[in-house]
Symmetry: C2
Subunit: 231 residues, 2 copies
Amino acid sequence: MATKETKRRGRPRSFDRETALEQAMRSFWEQGYEATSISDLTRTMGISAPSLYAAFGDKRALFGEVVTEYGRVYGGFLSRAVAEEPTARRGVERALREAAAEYTLPGRPRGCLVISAALNTAPASAEVAESLREMRLANVRDIQRAIAADVASGALPATTDAAALAHYVGAVMQGMSQQARDGADRATLEAIAELAMRAWPRTAGEKRTGGGEGEGVREKRKKETGPRPGA
Amino acid sequence: MATKETKRRGRPRSFDRETALEQAMRSFWEQGYEATSISDLTRTMGISAPSLYAAFGDKRALFGEVVTEYGRVYGGFLSRAVAEEPTARRGVERALREAAAEYTLPGRPRGCLVISAALNTAPASAEVAESLREMRLANVRDIQRAIAADVASGALPATTDAAALAHYVGAVMQGMSQQARDGADRATLEAIAELAMRAWPRTAGEKRTGGGEGEGVREKRKKETGPRPGA
DNA sequence: GTTTTTCTGTAGCGAGCGATACAGAAAGCG
DNA sequence: CGCTTTCTGTATCGCTCGCTACAGAAAAAC
């Protein structure tokens, strides 16, 4: 990453670009894309409108950078969990547990930016809404792929509907994000996550309670896909 | 309900108020409260702005009427299911199944208005967002009450955490609404609903598959609470 | 008929939106 | 030192927002 070229000419920028981007992210994360105005942004970023436009282009481009940064720093836990854990079950279990924590961490907006920042958009912002929607769908596909792999390997019953199970997990994560925004605390979300995992398919000779495994795949699975934010 | 008083004086209204309200509901349902402008409304309702303000007050009051009408016609299925079915399990099962259908019915906006119409609001619309949030919380409390009753009657294990289970159901419904808005079809939502019910607590001697009952309460439960929309 | 009441359409209010023109300030380069 | 380049602050732009003043139209009341 070439962040700083040799030495730029002209008057140097008087604010820290990354800090400003972080502040913009907080605003979009809290209020959503459309409800966050340019004057909201200039106030929280501590810069004037022309500086904002010079540094980031326009509102949509700024939001694009925000989403990228969000995925890199905050929203990648789902892809990471699914990619790093040896089975889909452990990946999803971990992702749901981490979501309960991430969505309620003090000192940052609640819930997931990708899930909640571009709902209820006017037609003018349809593109933005569509891009986040596609990120959500990509995450569901990620989960689905891991599940299908475990069905193929025998770690999950052959009768498992991978698409349905993946959509179920996606729905639960979206519901957790909304509940977090509605005020649910971490313990409540963790209880939801734990309950959600009770719907996970069990192989033939599997006990109900205890951290039942029942997988066939043992070695760490490592995907080539990078982390992807949200759910 | 006194809809039509004797004979009103003055020039009669040139449009049907209920039809206009229905059109307004569609707009708010599709785009949400803030993203729906007055000119959107006047266009879809087929009336001019002064007529709208004369008939409904202002935008917020119109939305209030819309929400009431929505709850009466479309969103009451959860309260109804929970109130009419003999056990919490059957009530929730029915509500989730109906949600899968309701959220994807052709010819109407997808998902639930109460869940999705006032997310990402600017501070100016905080009151509206808060009112819908309270409706969602009230629905969770409805579910929780039914669950707690079944725990008390022995239809559910004494170890059941009624609040956690109710929040789980609420999260699943909110997730289903979002998935519907993201394009999921009815079959996908029904699969989510069915999977979600596999997390339902089982009493001691309960079989896994088949429409297992295992309740203690047999007679229809009839609550005094009226239907309440959304989830 | 005339009067009174209520609704309708035009036209426009102040405010905020996203975005910018412009001139001055602050740096490197020669 | 100029000269060029880039950023900053002021002061807007045109547009849409929610909302309404006003005059005319259409009904009941007299």
